[in-house]
């Protein structure tokens, strides 16, 4: 077990100088980022280097940060060196208006569907991907649902007449709307009554 977070960090800095940055170790896992056009160079180096040998892609996903202009989307790679049993996390940030990131499918066959999933939910355009289309959602969908601008259904909405799920119906659920949501008839009746 010669490989430590500190050593990996040194090797990366030796190779890429200031282009790799933001080194952190949340809960013990070395995390860093690189410019998005460097992602394949970094992944290749991590894969090929005789010492580092990060040859197992555990996970690939994205995160949306709408408050960071120009760096809204983060593509996150989790890599694993199975021989020394050490994991790292590598991020590239991209603009959500032009979310082009090079594909890692040439290096990891596993990346194929994971990139399709990331495209499906975040719209990251993986340049060079052999078959970049939606995987879990329907092909006709015209937005990327996990981005933060698409909220979940408003829980206080009243326009649905759906007795089966407790909205609307005979006992008048969801009839009066206030600033804080909906007061149901049932709750109004309870106010002031003694709790047994």
């Amino acid at each position: 077990m010669a490989l430590t977070n500190e050593h990996i960090k040194q090797r990366l800095i030796e190779k890429f100088d200031t282009q790799v940055s933001s080194f952190e170790e949340p809960y013990g896992m070395l995390t860093f980022e690189a410019p998005k056009d460097m992602n394949l160079k970094v992944l290749n180096f991590l894969y090929d280097d005789a010492e580092l040998k990060f040859r197992f892609m555990t996970d690939l996903t994205a995160v949306h940060y709408p408050d960071q202009p120009g760096r809204e989307l983060a593509v996150v790679y989790h890599l694993h060196n199975l021989e020394d049993n050490i994991r790292i996390r590598f991020k590239v940030f991209t603009d959500s208006n032009k979310p082009d990131v090079y594909t890692a499918t040439a290096l990891f066959s596993a990346a194929n569907w994971m990139e399709r999933e990331t495209y499906d939910f975040y719209g990251v355009n993986f340049v060079g991907h052999p078959n970049l289309k939606r995987i879990l959602n329907v092909d006709e969908m015209d937005y990327f649902p996990l981005r933060k601008q698409y909220p979940l259904e408003d829980q206080s909405r009243v326009d649905k007449d759906d007795e089966m799920f407790g909205r609307g119906g005979a006992i008048g659920f969801g009839t009066e709307k206030t600033d804080h949501g909906t007061i149901t008839e049932l709750e109004k009746g309870d106010v002031g009554e003694e709790i047994v």
Binding site: P26, T58, T61, L82, N85, R87, N112, D139, P145, L152
Partner: protein, 407 residues
């Protein structure tokens, strides 16, 4: 809207190959997924998978839920072994919150997780049997899966989607019936498993159907991100329980069975061997649990009032418990900000949880690393050039669970 979802190749009327839709509701797919096979006679030329039929947007829903409300979502990933998913989620939360669980809780969790692994492998292996024409094994082992479900029922009240345990431990201590049933399982199951093996392992029909079908090399398996029994069948001894032990797995003695060729037969053998190992782990854990004496034998959760729902009778009688109950239910407690990846050895591979918290009440981002989803993409490579009947058996021996694939 495009006119049709399934696009036939150009000039498909004149073509010499046959297009066959396997799924999404074909009985042999054992789940809602579709394979569009291109067949030349009975040989598979290409296979294209369509998934997502039961996608439920768990990752999005989780962004509005408190930690404890996400546990029922994890039930519905690999529903053949929900307790492992539940525990994996609790362990992830505990890692984020810095909760240390008592040893007894760890051992109780190990018992449940290994029972879940047995029930999952049992279904997978007996389904491989069904798909190769041997129904007997499947019916025979079903009563022992039933016994495992009864054990869950004693502990948490439900059977399939268990929602078992809480952050920090269990909602209640194991009762005597649960222990009796675990003991019964330990006594009876070895004989059953032996008999199950007798039915299949050296069965000539079974061997001829599975040996060489859907083989994959260790190198390709790693490149495809295989984990769990499928990777071990290809000869790589990677197991999360050993490589990054959680829930005190380091206290147990067990082996990691590996195969050599990565074909259906090896996958079957690896799963069978794992059941023996799991059985031995349950036995060890059971003994360790019995060793606790006095007050220690009553411990079933860690002391984390901010996240562990107090017992109902305390809520009605004690002010403090009432306050914590209120705060937890109303979502008054902000979790620490942080970024954590935690994984457990699920029944069909490394089940990972990537959780980002920005300090709010619900996760900022939660991503599930679902082993099924990742290794199903190798299906075309596994079946190319094989016969149609192999395609079916490869599918069942990979242990594809639609719920996990689609999240």
């Amino acid at each position: 809207m495009s006119e049709q979802h399934i696009k036939l190749p150009e000039g498909s009327i004149e073509k010499t190959t046959t297009t066959l839709n396997l799924g999404p509701t074909h009985p042999a797919t054992h789940g809602v997924m579709q394979n569009i096979l291109e067949l030349d006679g009975e040989r598979i030329v290409s296979a294209e998978q369509t998934i997502g039929y039961i996608h439920r947007a768990f990752e999005k829903i989780a962004e509005r839920r408190n930690l404890y409300q996400i546990t029922p979502l994890t039930d519905r990933l690999n529903y053949c072994s929900s307790p492992i998913n539940n525990m994996g989620w609790h362990l992830t939360c505990e890692k984020l919150l810095g909760v240390k669980t008592p040893k007894r809780v760890d051992y109780l969790r190990v018992i449940i997780m290994e029972l879940a692994r047995i029930s999952d492998h049992l279904i997978c292996n007996s389904i491989v049997g069904v798909d190769s024409g041997a129904y007997t094994g499947f019916l025979y082992v079903m009563q022992y899966r039933e016994l495992i479900y009864e054990i869950y029922e004693e502990i948490c009240g439900s059977r399939l989607t268990t929602n078992i345990g809480r952050i920090g431990g269990f909602e209640r201590n194991f009762n005597d019936i649960a222990f009796t049933k675990i003991q019964k399982f330990l006594d009876e199951y070895p004989r059953v498993l032996k008999e199950f093996e007798n039915l299949f392992t050296r069965n000539r029909i079974f061997m001829e159907r599975t040996i060489g079908a859907g083989a994959i090399s260790a190198e390709r398996a790693l490149n495809y991100g295989f984990t769990g029994p499928n990777l071990r069948a290809a000869g790589v001894d990677y197991d999360v329980r050993i490589h990054s032990p959680y829930s005190s797995y380091e206290d147990f003695q067990f082996e990691i069975p590996v195969g050599t060729t990565g074909d259906c037969y090896d996958r079957f053998l690896v799963r069978n061997q794992e059941m023996w190992q799991s059985l031995s782990i349950v036995e060890q854990a059971f003994r360790k649990v019995q060793e606790f004496k006095g007050a220690e034998a009553e411990v079933y959760h860690a002391d984390v009032p901010e996240y562990y729902l107090p017992e109902k009778k305390d809520v009605y009688t004690k002010m403090e418990a009432l306050i914590w109950h209120f705060k937890i239910i109303m979502g008054e407690i902000d979790m620490p900000a942080g970024e954590v990846y935690n994984s457990v050895e699920g029944a069909n591979g490394e089940l990972g949880f990537y959780l980002i918290s920005d300090g709010g009440r619900a996760p900022y981002r939660l991503h599930f690393r679902r082993p099924c989803f990742i290794y199903y993409q190798a299906y075309e490579e596994l079946t190319k050039g094989a016969m149609l009947s192999d395609a079916i058996i490869v599918m069942s021996s990979l242990n594809l669970i639609a719920g996990e694939m689609d999240a």
